[in-house]
């Protein structure tokens, strides 16, 4: 047990992100953080991700901003072009809507438009997700929008270890990375390796092996899939749960390998079903592994409604472990 303790610790998702920022800011003086309430509020950040950073690095490098999402993003891009490595935080992914111009028209395109002769090493961090009664404008999952834009990378960690490892990799990446966390995951705990820990972008993780149905999930739906898997194991149905971790670039090979094994695919995400990342994954799987499919792929996604406030409605609007289990049973019937 003690040997394990020296090499991994149990941290929350939030603590893991904090560690990533701290270590990278120590390692590279060009890295700085800016966003609303990242420095002062409650010791650092509405979700504690930037806790204690201003004390160590000062208010220049851990910079509170006014409520100016477009400028937060645009300044981050400009700073990145001028030699800095900014990590810009948006309090809610929903607010990134105000920053779409600098993210989509500038950050994503500058390298390509300038013939490869510029770099925009910026990380745009935000948290997504529903389940806490924050209602329609504070509960969205908008990763599909960013996945759609060439030039951006999109990351969605679901565990503390991945949160740290991927944030370190994102900061070190010379491209604009949209780094999407989930509000319900901040307090989840998990083992995080000590010392230098990176997770490469573009590599999926198999969270659980199984022979019968491949389930691809994002953020909380990974956890719900695992919950469904536990239940179904007692019924003799084995789920194989794949967590892509990065959506762009997508580790399609991992998903295909799983589908070739099981022949059945469920893709589940909180984001609205219509034109969500599930559609893209399924289109790619069908194109590349049609002959491996024993049943049509299934999507279990957020309903095409603004996220409602009442608990019962919100629960009904999101895919739950029960739904994953039911869909898997149906596929196996």
């Amino acid at each position: 047990m003690s040997a394990v303790e020296t090499h991994t610790r149990v941290l929350t998702y939030s603590e893991a992100l904090n560690e990533a920022l701290r270590e990278e800011m120590r390692r590279d003086a060009r890295v700085f953080v800016m966003g609303e309430d990242v420095a002062v509020w409650g010791g650092g950040g509405v979700f504690g991700v930037t806790k204690g950073l201003v004390e160590e690095f000062g208010p220049e490098r851990v910079r509170d901003t006014p409520i100016s999402e477009e400028a937060i993003a645009a300044l981050a891009v400009g700073a990145a072009m001028a030699g800095a490595r900014p990590v810009a935080e948006f309090m809610y992914a929903d607010f990134m809507t105000l920053a779409m111009e600098p993210i989509v028209n500038q950050a994503a395109k500058i390298r390509y438009m300038f013939g490869g002769k510029a770099r925009v090493p910026v990380v745009f961090r935000a948290q997504e997700g529903a389940g806490r009664g924050n209602a329609a404008q504070h509960s969205q999952s908008l990763e599909a929008w960013f996945c759609h834009i060439p030039g951006l990378k999109v990351v969605t960690p679901s565990t503390p270890a991945d949160a740290k490892g991927l944030l370190v990799s994102a900061i070190r990446d010379d491209n604009p990375v949209v780094f999407l966390e989930h509000k319900l995951l901040y307090n989840t705990k998990g083992p995080v390796p000590a010392g230098e820990h990176t997770v490469p972008l573009g590599v999926a993780a198999c969270r659980r092996e199984g022979r019968h149905v491949t389930v691809v999930g994002i953020h909380t739906t990974v956890l719900k899939a695992l919950e469904a898997a536990d239940r179904l194991a007692a019924e003799g149905i084995e789920l194989e749960v794949i967590d892509p971790r990065t959506l762009v670039p997508l580790d399609l090979a991992a998903i295909l390998a799983s589908v070739r094994k099981t022949g059945r695919l469920i893709v589940t995400h909180e984001a609205y079903e219509r034109c969500g990342i599930g559609a893209e994954i399924i289109a790619q799987v069908v194109a590349d592994a049609f002959d491996a499919l024993d049943a049509p792929p299934v999507r279990l996604c957020g309903a095409n409604v603004p996220v409602p406030y009442a608990a019962s409605l919100e629960a009904a609007a999101l895919p739950q472990a029960d739904d994953i289990a039911a869909a898997a049973r149906q596929l196996m019937a």
Binding site: G263, D294, A295, L300, D323, A327, Q330, A333
Partner: protein, 403 residues
């Protein structure tokens, strides 16, 4: 919403094979409109829609077999949910409650195949192709009767050699492979059953067909002039048998529950040879029909038999069968009884042969008649008398023209 179930179309029928869906999924059907064709233990039968509406879902595709009284399709109005029914009938394993639809889907009207295509998942199709399994022989256990991987796997486990052998065959030429295989199975079963359960033996005699031939020509010409058809030798024999059966009711009987049952009506089945196998449509009340009527009926039944368009009642209820192999050069043979009938008359070819007429030898057209009868029902002497009567009528063919 109405479930369409596979009807029981014969007393002994236990299952049927869907030959053809006349209407496609998604199309409107009217109550009473022909909806599908099913192959029973006798032959193919058209079945009408039990209700009006849209054919929402076909649960048993063409080529697949289902037990009698199981749901094979759903008729309703668009938007009605049929998944529950589909899942319930498409082989959900016992003990597993059908899952409620997990997601409030906005259900598009399903497109696809009431058009004769086999529903099969790509994975199953690939496996079947790789291992030489004929998909047409499989019944799908997936949703909507789709053939899925485990169906192919089960087929491989059950009969790996057989599946390899079945991939080619005469059935493919006709385009009705499922039907052919099913019919063969039926014939095999019935013929074996006949030989095993009855005490059958065959008597033969010969009829001098000179006068019958002349009648056939002359009456035939007249009938054709009137827009009818020229009678065949089979038609003459059917008429002759019907006349003879009036006087010999023991041959128009069957063995039921340990005793002989004489049948009141005379319905004569005429064996029709199809590529897929033998079918025997029935000329009802052949004793009351004229030669012209018999001739027209036999012609019509034969044509429809070849097109698999016979109705159930046309295959059922026969009391006696006539079977002609003369056109293939057969003189005499030993026809097998068509259960539960007590007798069957086989007809050979008309051949010019030297025959003693008085003291002279003449060349006469002679036709062999082979009567197989069930000795449990009738003895040899009465059977022989019947055969004698048939021969007599054919040799005095004006008797065929009497009512």
């Amino acid at each position: 919403m109405t479930e369409v179930v596979l009807p029981k179309l014969g007393l002994t029928q236990e299952e049927g094979t869907i030959v053809r869906w006349i209407k496609a999924e998604g199309s409107r059907v009217a109550k009473g409109e022909v909806l599908f064709e099913v192959l029973t233990d006798k032959a193919t039968i058209e079945v009408e829609a039990p209700a009006s509406g849209v054919l929402l879902r076909i649960l048993v595709p063409e080529g697949a077999t289902a037990p009698v009284a199981t749901p094979i399709a759903v008729i309703g109005e668009p938007g009605e949910r049929s998944e529950r029914i589909a899942r319930a009938s498409a082989g959900v394993q016992a003990g597993r409650a059908p899952a409620a639809a997990p997601w409030p889907r906005i259900d598009p009207v399903s497109t696809a195949s009431g058009d004769g295509r086999i529903r099969v998942s790509p994975r199953a199709k690939a496996l079947a192709a790789a291992r030489g399994v004929d998909l047409r022989r499989l019944r799908g256990s997936g949703p909507d009767g789709r053939i899925i991987e485990r169906d192919v796997q089960r087929a491989l486990e059950a009969a790996p050699a057989a599946s390899a052998a079945s991939s080619a065959g005469p059935a493919s030429e006709t385009g009705r492979p499922a039907v052919a295989l099913q019919l063969r199975a039926i014939i095999a079963r019935r013929m074996t059953e006949s030989l095993q359960t009855t005490a059958q033996l065959t008597l033969t005699s010969e009829a001098d067909m000179a006068d019958a031939a002349r009648l056939r020509d002359e009456a035939g010409a007249e009938l054709e002039r009137r827009g009818g058809v020229r009678p065949t030798y089979t038609d003459l024999v059917v008429r002759a048998a019907a006349i003879a059966l009036r006087d010999h009711p023991r041959l128009n009987a069957r063995w039921t529950d340990g005793r002989v049952r004489l049948l009141p009506d005379i319905h004569i089945g005429v064996a029709v040879s199809l590529e897929e196998g033998l079918v025997v449509p029935v000329v009802r009340h052949a004793d009351r029909a004229t030669l012209a009527e018999i001739s027209a009926q036999v012609r019509d039944l034969s044509e429809r038999a070849r097109g698999f368009r016979l109705r159930p009642e046309e295959l059922d209820g026969g009391t006696f069968t006539v079977t002609n192999l003369g056109m293939f050069g057969v003189d005499a043979f030993t026809p097998i009884l068509n259960p539960p009938e007590a007798a069957i008359l086989g007809v050979g070819r008309v051949r010019a042969r030297p025959v003693a007429v008085g003291d002279r030898v003449e060349v006469r057209p002679v036709m062999a008649l082979s009567l197989t009868f069930d000795h449990r029902v009738v003895d040899g002497a009465p059977a022989a008398q019947f055969l004698q009567r048939v021969t007599h009528v054919l040799e005095h063919p004006y008797l065929l023209l009497l009512p």
